[in-house]
């Protein structure tokens, strides 16, 4: 579905980003994965993403909340891959607490990485997409950005911000054949949800129409569709992948 296309995925060595990287590679794209650090964990993840050694997987270490580092990394990626057709803004963190318990750092880091990072990375690649007259941007929001969640005021604000950003980019660049959509995952089995204990898990599952937590693959499949030309008339949309959590 993505033959000849080049994709960038932030937060691409874990969870949903990793599943999307694997799926995009299997669908013949070249994939540049960004993670904060070049660690052993990241290296192992790259082996899992590309066990076949296709030669189409590239890795870049970059803190996406660092504006200048993002600009520099985007230049390197564009030089290495030649062009970028698809951008998946997936990198995100949580720092959960009730509002009075949130430190300034808890608030700032979540907004800096989730929201501002998404804006920095999109800004860094958008002009290339304008020049090549097309592209697909997929921003990872969250069902929490739509419905709110106790203990996640900072995270919910960042993910709701991503929805506004997505719609504005869709309007600004639609006529340049650049689409921008958001995915709002519910509870997906990743490191972010590993912190839940069994009781919390079963409580959550009770609220779902489909009585299981989602898998990274469930979200990656939608990312693949939105990245491909099969979704060429869809933009400015927010699509939930939440097992009917918020209906």
């Amino acid at each position: 579905m993505l033959e000849g296309k080049c994709a960038v995925i932030t937060g691409g060595t874990r969870g949903i980003g990793k599943a999307a990287a694997r799926l995009f590679l299997l669908n013949k794209a070249s994939v540049a994965v960004i993670a904060t650090k070049d660690s052993e964990e990241a290296r192992n993840a790259l082996k899992e993403i590309d066990p076949e050694g296709t030669g189409r997987l590239f890795f870049y270490a970059c803190d996406i909340s660092d504006f200048d580092a993002v600009e520099e990394t985007a230049k390197k990626i564009t030089a290495d891959l030649g062009k970028i057709d698809i951008l998946v803004n997936n990198a995100g963190i949580t720092r959960d607490n009730i509002l009075p318990g949130l430190s300034k750092e808890d608030i700032d880091s979540v907004i800096d990485i989730n929201l501002k990072g998404t804006m920095y990375v999109t800004k860094a690649f958008i002009r290339g997409m304008v020049r090549q007259k097309g592209g697909s941007i997929i921003n990872m929001s969250s069902v929490v950005g739509l419905m709110g969640n106790k203990g996640q005021t900072n995270y919910a604000a960042s993910k709701a911000g991503i929805i506004g950003f997505t719609k504005a980019v869709a309007r600004e660049y639609g006529r340049k054949n650049i689409r921008c959509n958001a995915i709002a995952p519910g509870f997906i089995e990743t490191r972010m949800t590993d912190a839940l204990n069994e009781e919390q898990r079963s409580e959550i599952i009770k609220t779902l129409a489909i009585e299981r937590l989602g898998k990274p693959q469930d979200v990656a499949e939608l990312a693949l569709f939105l990245a491909s030309d099969r979704s060429s008339y869809i933009t400015g949309e927010v699509i939930k992948v939440d097992g009917g959590m918020y209906v």
Binding site: R127, V130, R131, E172
Partner: protein, 74 residues
Amino acid sequence: MNETKETIVRIIAEYLDKDASEISTSDNFTDIGLDSLDIMELVMQIQEELDCKFELSQDITNIDKLAELIESNK
């Protein structure tokens, strides 16, 4: 046509997928197919390529006027 104007015409022609000969320097930007968003993008490209800085005002409505503005800022 001076070098500044030639560069602007080339950048705009590439942006619009047209031949430079099809770009009139005296026609309004809107008449050659550019809207405000296009102009913002092109201003960035032109500033980078000519290594200059300028503020675009309402009076700068075509390539001739833009070239004059850039030349006067040199």
